[in-house]
Structure formats: structure tokens, C-alpha cells
Symmetry: D2
Subunit: 399 residues, 4 copies
């Protein structure tokens, strides 16, 4: 048992950390102000493209993809944590969701043609993508509820349905969505669905509205509600062929949840740092806040909660690397329960220490809270993941 | 001991409840959509004035003010709960904060002149007002930190300082703010401050910006950051004379906290109702959500938490009526700790049951969460109120 | 709405409070030491009989029974709270469980003969009784699981089965148990069971063992595991006739849960008092414990939790008085969830403030913890009561 | 980063696990029954000596001591977890507290003479020892409070004072206690105290009483209150010389806390196993308990909490191995906060699933609860450890 980072991971950690500190953090507040002041904030500000170019040049690019970076999940995870400290870092390093998951899917399951058309520009950071899975009219926690259809008709696949929480679909560079729909209701329940690449200019696709999440639109990415009405595409738009949607979705989820969770841990670390700064610098009743009431206990609890959560995620990443997704099913669900709840607690504590200011956008805390809260629902609500953990636990006892 | 409402309270309860159900609820969703669609949402939509006129005609007007309605705190409290179910009801019944507190202050401490100029149009619902207490640069939980000044110079009082979280200051009808500042640093610590009525068109007053609170501006009321630079007013703008600011602030807080807490209880009831509707109507894994996992336990816990909190507030209101603020100090701080935290738990549970939809504005839950969260800080953070409760508790044991 | 005690309740409160302070508290520690030092602690020490005589003489006797005291539940509840502060007070006032419930049952359902033989000596405090409901081999939370039988054969009723957690059965004066068993499996599910009065010297009855509860036997009352093997009794030992067991059990539960909960509130108050004494008297790091870390916050939270729980119980008692058990079903289950958990939190906090001493028997806290913990299971576990609350809540939404 | 056990640790894990399953678990229930039935339970039953002999023969002996076993803390930790599943396993493997800590102290700081007289028979499992640190009359969480004295007079050291929670002092083989007392109040605060080896037959030493902890005496070890009245010993009874008590105490604490925490994790695992067995085997309302309400969620939460806590302890052990105690200060305090609280939650959940049976001694749960609860106080209460964590955290922000 060895809790030290590999030499390679340690090297990337130093370099990504440096880049964030010297290139991103000094400009991030200005970036947000500039964006907030725009009439149309659904744009990519020039600073983003400049930072992307620098990151790419520095070799800090596409680190999430083992085929590119050679990094195992347990090595990439701490880099994702660093990126999670900043709202813009993931895009700067071309490591932002849902593009990361979409690129993995294309890397593993895409045809040469699909790779050339979509994966390559994604890897170059030229375009962005969306993932259309969740539906407004059914409980998406139960995948068998899915109502959207992807029906094969001759040499075409025809898509119909309504999706929402399609993250990133508002981005001006978003050019393609991966749509999941029911193809064959009579097939085995894991062979009924297909994943289809939908260029956003395909007739029948419509962006109905952008959804506010806890009052925010998260420009320029955003979360869209979209409709597909008789969207017709050639069969080669189907990833890996009809009926393989579930299989692909499964493979996408393990690393994706590791990434989400590690970014949240970075956000929680950032929130704790802000809390400590506030607690040592602000005074009331003649003392720094750190010396009032239970504030130190809360800071200690936050530190402990972050450490526990990080170790749980790193262990899950190591299991995923070592035993594959099947050998890490419970672990991946465990982190999906623990980390967003932990992050919410830490961020909320930090907000409280900041007083009213913590609720405004003068600090990144209210936005962090909204982001962390959405991850108690996205990619499966807590309740479903607890169900997975319990099922695996109890299986040992069934006679 | 009798937990039944008085006949008078019961009658108002029926009438206010009816009015909300028949007049307000049917139009509220449209109101929010209409407002959200406006380029400038800092307006009073006509429907609000129509509803105000109806409420006034129905005798459901200014119920918070005992001198007007004859209702004790314990009788008004359940009406405030009903109003809290809706974002617009408090204004419709002319019972919204901070106007209620400001009207009470003017009623109790205002000169005839002040009453005529400000109280009367407030009571008629013609103008709105703000309250400028909290400051951005100091921990406002410790009132002795207050940096703003209200200095008497000859027959004028001169105001300087910066305030924020001045709620309602964005309202187009907001005409006056009550400002609190330091007048005499050498006086007894409870006789140092003054409260001054500041017409918003007074030179030197500036609305610096509107603050987002958890991503929302709460138009058309809003929360402002404002500056006072050599604002000069005649001495008769001071309420009850220089040095009485603390005394007035104290009197304002008891009923105000009762109102806030009861409105939050209404909001929590609304959130629980929505949760129950969702739990019985939405299905996953072949069952209504109500029959999955711990959902029933969470609904039970919400019901129990609301009941406990409501009784605590009603008891505090009764103590306030029976023994005055001094006899209800601990109770008022107790409710200020319990109720916002309880409401947050219930609203969060309801959001989780709603899935992604709960985070959007398709339901009033995300907005309710932001509102409840801000009340863990406004009017004193949890920590300060726990300190009050503990101080009173431990006093019994000091030798 | 009026939170003041009735004159009658206030008078009893003063008198019971006085009696506890002047007669019971001064001797209680000695009582426990004396008992702990005995080889056979299953005895009634003389001081108990002396105190009982004094209480009876003072008219502070059988206050739980409205027919005797004229006190409504909402009036008796605060007296039960006072008694709950002491381990011996309930017996001193002849108000201890399960005798109170058994006396109520006999009062309401007993034949004249049953009353004469059992109720009268119970009311005089001459004998004690037990209640045999829970079974070791089935989940007693589901009453339809009950395996014990009470079969009518000619003019006899024949009892078979095993029961446990028969509280009080170790008491030297315990002379009778009320046994519940299945009489007619084909009857309506609420008409299948009978309650039978079993003199403890009846052949076939056996006290198998006394159960430790969290390491304690709670002498001289105790919790027994008992067996009934072909116990034959004349039919007039059946309370209210065969098949009425459920009906009787239901009626017994409402007031019984009020009593349990109020006694626990008294125990929590006692624990909080001890915590405050310790916090103000003990020093570490140069300060009284009260001024260290989050201790004040914990004391405040305890005060708040007790207040909320007490109001919830009083309201439930008032509902029971006003609308009967059917009108208070949710409320009675609510208190059964809230109060033991609240008491455990407060007692645990107090133990922690006492350091190691809190875990020993030098303070009544460890014993209090065990007692409160058992009430999360006795009379229905938390989970079943949450189920009742949720069922009633959701019924409003069923179409 | 590698979460796999070393080959050596894996080998011991298999062997210790086997031994517990085949040798200890089959006899443990009988052991407890036999002991419980004895008039004098302060004895070592023959089965213990037999098991000790077998364990020693199998080379599963003194594994805690690196000098004997060659195992690093991170390698021994999972073995401690296995031992913690059973109440008797630690003694069987000669790895029980406080002997382990005492042996470490003698190994590191003892003179040859001290080693020969005390360490060797301890390592052979022939004698047992106690540790006398905590005092009844002062808050021991603040070590500077210590009132006991160890005064050098000529060639003797004279001990006075009262200690309690001297664990193991009731064991019939307990022959020696390590006493800590104040030697030189004028020295630097970390050089004031001495540790002295006190044979229990030394005049002036008195075992005042055995303390019940949550109603249990934990025979045959027990927790004693002891007095030292002019206990005179030659100076060579002082470990490492006068004034080095603090230094020695510090070194003792790191590994000791790792051991305590890992044993508790084993206990929590055991409690979770029992919960799962109960949940799958017991039925109510026509379903196994596992399928009722929130039971699965609670099982999932327990699994997650155990995993997080275990990783935190293993990481702390690795830090201790890699960077020494100074490099693991925060980590050691973190586990001391997390693990007992986690274990209490899991055990309590398991008790609740067991119904009344969980509170009796038919299952090891009530005893486990008492043991885990005492570790929220022993070796420093939660509050002190949170203080350490916060201090280290905030140090980064001090200017």
C-alpha cells in the first residue's frame, strides 16, 4: 500500500498546479466580470482561446484520455481535482464535461469516419459537444423509462423525443450531440437503445430553451431542453451500431464519475481555503472569526470530510484501473453519493463564514453550491447510487 | 393550554386562505413567466396592483399591524404562514418585509410629520421602503462593528457609509430608506446610533449595484448595495431623535423574526405539498416514488420538522404577546436558528424528489431554497442566535 | 391559542416539583448506591415505600388517571416530565409504566371482578404488573406476526408462547401480567387477538431470564423473557372478552406514548442541566468548558431541541384530549419518533461534556442513555412510526 | 499510488483471518456465556490460554511490534481491524491495549533492566499491564491540568495522586502500571512530567473501585479508579529518566490511535455484517427487513462510511510510517474524530435493525456500542482532536 503519487502524476500535478496559479487564477475574476457584463454571454471570450493555446503548447492537454496522456485514472484524478478549483480550467485544459465522456466514447466505439469528423476536432478543442440522455417527462433514474426513440428505417435512423439537462448545448462551438433513444423494445433490456451522433444543424433538432439551474444559466455552456422531431440520419451516425447504447453508456460512466467527483473535491478545497482566509482575516466581537464558537470545529470537520472523500475517489479510480468497471461498481456509486454531499457541506459552511457576501457572486461560493447540488441528481440521484451499493452489499448474504 | 386558534384568527385564516387559493395561486405562474420575459423586470406588473386593490377591499390589508387589524402576534403568525406560500402574496396583502418592520417603527417611534409623509402612503401600499443596516466591510453580526456614521451638525444630520443587502431598494415604488449609523461613539453602547429616514432622491445617496443572491436578483424588489456620501438631512429626519437607533432596532426585531419564520414555514409546507404530489404521481422502477427507498421516511421527517418548528414559532409569538420582547429573547433566537434550517431541509428534500426539474424555475423550489438560505444570515446568522440562546441558558448557572 | 398551563395543572406542577426537589432528589443518589451494593438488588428498599406513602398523603398519587385526578392528558403531561427527571419518581407517585397503561386498560375494559382483584391493589400501589406483548422470534413491529396463542377451549383460555421485554416482571411485587395472543386466525385482522390477565403463579408461566438492556438490568423492575406453556385460565381472565386485544392495545397506546415521551423530556432537561453545571464549573485550557469550541452551540441546540419536542408532545396530548386517538394518530407517531432521538442527542452531548465520568454511574447519564435508546424500539420502532406519519400525509394526495 | 496490500501483509491477513474464523469465532459465544455465569468473572478462562498458545505457535503473536514482526503500521493496521471484530482476539494475539502501547514504550525507552523485568513477560503474554494517566478531578483533555505528582527525593521517586480509567487493571495477571505525574512544575511544559513503572504490590497503591462504563465492567480487564499515596520507588523505576513523560506519551499515541481506530473499523464491519444478515433473514409486513423503508439506504451509508474511515486510517498509518508522528499529527487526530463516531453510527443502525434483541447481550452490539462510545473520550475527546486538526489547517493562513 503506497499513498504517494507516481512520478509521472507528481510531475503533471506540479505543472498543472503552476499553470492554474500563474495563468488562470490571475485572470479568472476578470473573466467572470467581463462575461457578466455582456448583453449576450453565450460567447467564448478571447482569453479562453489564449489560455487553451498555452495549455496545449505546455503539453497540458487532453490529459483525461489515457491514449493521449498515458495517465491511469488514479493518476489523472488529482489533476481533475486541481482543475475543479476553477470554473474555466477544465475547458482550458480540454478536459471539461461532457466533452471528455463524449471523446472517450468516440475513442472506444467510434468508426474511423466518426473519429475523423468529430473526435479529432474535439481533441483539438475546436468544437464542443453535448450529451442528450435525460428526459423531462419520465424519471430518468430508471433508464427503462426512456421515452425517446431511435428507430431504424431502411438505411436511416429516425430520432424522436425530448431531452433536457443537455449540458454545453448553449456553447457557440457546440456542433454535435450524442442522442440516446429506444430502438428495439423487444430486445434484451440492455440491447434496446442506440447512441446517435446528431449534428446540431440537422433538420428536426430544436433547442427549446436554456434551463436555469438554481437561478444560473452557466453561460456559455448552459443546460438545454431540446426536441428531436423526425430527425433523420444515415445509419453510420449510430455509434457502434444500433442496440449498443446501454453498453456504451455504462463504459462512459465510470471515469466520468471519477472526474466529476475529483473536480468537486477541488471545489471543496477551494471553498475551505476561502473559509480559512475569511476566518483568519475577518473579526467580530474583537476576535477573528476562527476563534468564535464552533468555527474551528467546522473547519476541522471540513478538512476531515475532504480527506475521506478524496481517498475514496482515489481508491475507486485505482479499482477501476485494476479491476475494470465491473470490479468497481460499488466504489463508483459510493463516491457519487459521498462527494457531492460532502462538497455541499463544505461550501455551505464557507458561505456561512462569509456572511451575506458568500451568497453573492463576489465569491465563487454560491455558484459552487449550485454546481455541487446539481451533481446530487446528474448521472443518477443519490438514492439510486445508494441502491446500487446496498444491492452489492446484500448480495453476499442471499442464500 | 389551548392549541386552537382564536375565533378572529380562524376567520382571517379562512379568508386569507381563500383569497390565496382563488385570487393569487391561479395567476402566480403567469406572473413569474411574464416578469421573466421582460427586458426590464424592475417593474410592478398590473396584476399586482389589481390584487392589492382586491385584498384591501376584502379587508385583508395591513394585517401585521395590531393597531390596524387588532391581531396579536400569535394570531397574525398563521396568516404570515399562508402568505409565505407565495412569492407575491406578502405584497398583495401589504405585509411584505422590510416594509412591515419599517411601518412598525414609524407607527411606534415616528413623529406626526414622519407618519404623514411616510407611514400613510406605506399603509396605503403606494410606496415601498428599504432598511439600510448591514455593511459590506465589517462583520454585521457584531453591531458594534458598524462603520457608517450619522453625525449631527447644527440642525442637520450628515450620513456617510456603505450598506448592502438593502432589500426592496430596487422596487420602482421604493421612495425611502431607513439608515442606521453611528452618532456618538462616546455614548453608552446602546445609545450611540441613530435611525434616519432618507428619501432616495437625496443628494449623496447612490444605488451602487443590485446584488445577486444565489444567482437571483429577486426582481422587482432586489437587494442593493448603496452608498451614502455626505447625505445631509434636517434633524427631523431622525426617528425618535439621535442616539435611539439601537432601541428602535431591538423593538423591530421580535415581530419581524416571527413574520420571517412563519413565512418560511409556509414555504416549507408548500415544498412538502409539492414533494407529496411528485411522490404520488411520478413513477420509477414500476412504483410511485413514494414507495421507493427512504422517501416515505423523508416525507415523515419533513412533516415532523414543520410541526415542531411551527409550534416553536407560535409559542414565541405568544410569549412576545404575553411577556414582551425581554421575556421572549431566547425564544425569538431559537426560532431564528430552527426555522431557516428546517425549511432548507424540507425544500432540499423536495428538490431531490423532483429530480432535475426541481433545480429549474419550473417549480418554485430553487427560488425557495435561495430565500431560505439567505435567512440563515439575514437578521443575525445562526451562530449569533445560538450564542444568545446559550447565554440565557447558562446565566441560570453562573454563581 | 394559549400556552399557559391551566390553574389546576399549574398547582400540581408546583406541588410535584416541590416534592421531587425536597423529598426525592436528596435521597436518590443514596438509593442507587444502596441498591447497587446489594447482593440481590431485586428488592423494594424501604425508602421507596416511605416516599410512596408521603406522595399518596400529599394527594400526588395516580395523577395519570383522569378518573382519579381529573387531569386531561395535556395537564398531566408536564407532571410526567417532572417525574421523568428521576428514576424512582414514577413509582413514588404510582405513575410508572407499564402499570399506568395496565391500570388504564383495567379501568376502561375490566370487569368488576377484574377491577377488584387487580386494579384496586394497583391503584393502591400494593402490587405491580407486567405487559407481555413483544416476542423474540418475530418482528414485533408487525403485529400480524404475533405467534403466541390464546385459544378458547370450553370455559377456559389456554395460553402458549414466548414473550420478552416484559418490563417490570422482575419486581418483587409484580403479581400479574397482561398477555396478548392469537385467538381466532380467521377473524378480521383486528379481532383475532385477546388480552388475558395471568397471575404470575399460574402453572405453565415461567420467567426464563432477565434481559440486560445496554448492559443494565434496571433492578428491581427489569425486563423479562417469559414463556407460557399451556397456561390455563378461566374465561373471565380475558379482558373484555376474546378477540378484543387489538382494540384494547390501541386505546392503551396514545396516552402511554405521551407519558413515555414526557418522561424522556424530563430526562433530557436533567441531562441539559447537568451539562450546564459541568460547563460552567469545569475548566480546561484556562477557561470553563462553556467557553471552549462549539460547546455553547451544543447547549443552545439542546435547549432548542427540547423546546420543540415538548411543544410537539403537548400539542399531541391536546389533540388526544380534543379529538381522541383517531384525531391524533399522526401526532402520537410523530412524538414517538422525535422525542427518544432528541433525548439521546441531549444526553450524549451531556456525557461528552462530562468526559469519562459521564460514562460511569457517578452521573445518571449512561443509564439515561440506555433508557432513551430502548424507546427508539419499544412501542414500535422509529421506522414504523415514520411509516404511519407518511401514510397519513400521503393519503391527502391519493386520487 | 497503490491500494494493494504488500505480500507480507496479505499473507498475515489470510492467516489471522483464518485463525479468527476457525479458532476464535466458534468458541467466542461460549466464552462470554461461561464468563457471564461466574460469580467472580475477574478470571482468565482456560480457553484464552489455549488460544494464546496456538496463536503464538502459529507465529501470530506480537504482530503490532515492528521489531518483532517487521510489519509497518500500514501493514499491521488491517490485522488490527480483523482482531477488532472479536472481544477476545486482541488478547489471543497478544495485541491488546494498553499492553501494546506499554510494550512499545518499554521497547523504545526502557532500560535493559526494565525490559527484562517487564517487557519480556509482557511479550510472552504472561503478565498484563495498565496505564495511569487520566484523573477524575481535572479535565484530562488539557494535559497541563494533571494533578498527580512524581517527585524525586534523593534516590527515590515518590508518587501521589488519583487516576481513573486505568484499563486492564482488574485483570488477574496485571502486575504493573505505568504512572504519569508532575515532577518539576518549573521546567518547560513538555519536560515537567515523568513516567514511572509501579508494581501493583507497591505499598501506597490502591485499587479504589472498578468503574462501570455504560453499565459494563468489561471483565476480566475492567477500568479502575486507583490511588497512589506516597508510593516510593527507586529512581530506576522511572522510564528514560525524570521529565521525559510527555515525550514518551507523544510517541505512544500515534500507533496506539491507529490500533484503536482499526479495531473499531473491524467492530463496525462486524456490526454491518450482522445488520445484513438480519435484514435478509428477518421478515415484517411480508418482506425481508432489507426491503422495507430506508433500510437499504442505511446499509449503503454504513458501507460507505466504513470504506472512507478505513482509507483515512490506512493513509494516516502510511504517513506515520513515511514521515513520522510530526508528519502525521493532523491525520492521527482526524481518524480519532472520525472512526469512533462512524462506528457508533453503524453499530446503532445495526442495533435498530435487530430490534430489542440488539440491546441485549444476545448479540455483541450493545457491548460494541459502549466500547466505541468510550473512544470518543479516551485518548482525547473529539473536541480536542478537532482543535488539533483546525490548528494545523489554519496555521497555513496566519500571517
Amino acid at each position: 500500500m503506497d499513498f504517494a503519487h507516481s512520478a509521472k502524476a507528481a510531475d503533471y500535478l506540479a505543472r498543472v498546479g503552476d499553470f492554474i496559479r500563474t495563468e488562470i487564477e490571475p485572470v479568472e475574476a476578470d473573466y467572470h466580470h467581463e462575461l457578466a457584463a455582456m448583453d449576450d454571454p453565450w460567447v467564448v471570450l478571447p482569453v479562453i482561446e489564449e489560455l487553451k493555446a498555452k495549455a496545449r503548447e505546455a503539453g497540458l492537454w487532453n490529459l483525461f484520455l489515457k491514449a493521449e496522456s498515458g495517465l491511469a485514472n488514479v493518476e489523472y484524478a488529482p489533476l481533475a481535482e486541481l482543475m475543479g478549483r476553477s470554473f474555466i480550467a477544465p475547458e482550458v485544459f480540454n478536459c471539461n464535461a461532457p466533452d471528455t465522456g463524449n471523446m472517450e466514447v468516440l475513442h472506444m466505439y467510434g468508426s474511423d469516419e466518426q473519429k475523423k469528423r468529430w473526435l479529432e476536432p474535439l481533441l483539438r478543442g475546436e468544437i464542443r459537444s453535448a450529451f442528450c440522455m435525460t428526459e423531462p417527462d419520465v424519471a430518468s433514474s430508471d433508464a427503462t423509462n426512456m421515452a425517446a426513440t431511435a428507430v431504424v428505417k431502411n438505411d436511416e435512423i429516425v430520432l424522436n423525443g425530448r431531452k433536457w439537462f443537455s449540458t454545453g448545448i448553449g456553447h457557440p462551438n457546440c456542433k454535435v450531440a450524442i442522442f440516446m433513444g429506444l430502438t428495439d423494445p423487444d430486445a434484451h433490456k440492455y440491447a434496446r437503445h442506440s447512441m446517435v451522433l446528431v449534428p446540431l444543424d440537422t433538420p428536426g433538432f430544436k433547442l427549446e430553451r436554456m434551463l436555469p439551474v438554481f437561478g444560473r444559466h452557466d453561460e456559455p455552456f448552459g443546460h438545454g431542453e431540446v426536441s428531436f422531431t423526425d430527425v433523420r440520419l444515415p445509419l453510420d451516425a449510430v455509434i457502434a451500431g444500433p442496440g449498443r447504447g446501454f453498453e456504451i453508456a455504462q463504459g462512459r460512466l465510470g471515469p466520468g464519475r471519477i472526474h466529476h467527483c475529483m473536480r468537486l473535491i477541488g471545489l471543496a478545497e477551494k471553498a475551505l481555503e476561502l473559509a480559512c482566509e475569511r476566518a483568519t482575516q475577518r473579526e467580530a466581537f474583537g476576535k477573528p472569526l476562527a476563534n468564535l464558537g464552533g468555527n474551528r470545529e467546522r473547519i476541522a470537520d471540513a478538512r476531515i470530510a475532504i480527506e475521506q472523500a478524496r481517498l475514496l475517489v482515489l481508491n475507486a479510480a485505482w479499482k477501476l484501473d485494476t479491476y475494470g468497471l465491473k470490479g468497481a461498481l460499488s466504489e463508483v456509486s459510493q463516491i457519487k453519493v459521498v462527494v457531492p454531499n460532502m462538497a455541499l457541506d463544505v461550501i455551505d459552511m464557507s458561505i456561512q463564514l462569509h456572511g451575506g457576501a458568500g451568497m453573492t457572486d463576489d465569491f465563487p461560493l454560491a455558484a459552487a453550491y449550485a454546481g455541487a447540488r446539481s451533481l446530487r441528481l446528474a448521472d443518477g440521484p443519490d438514492e439510486v447510487h445508494r441502491g446500487v451499493v446496498a444491492r452489492i452489499e446484500l448480495k453476499k448474504y442471499s442464500s
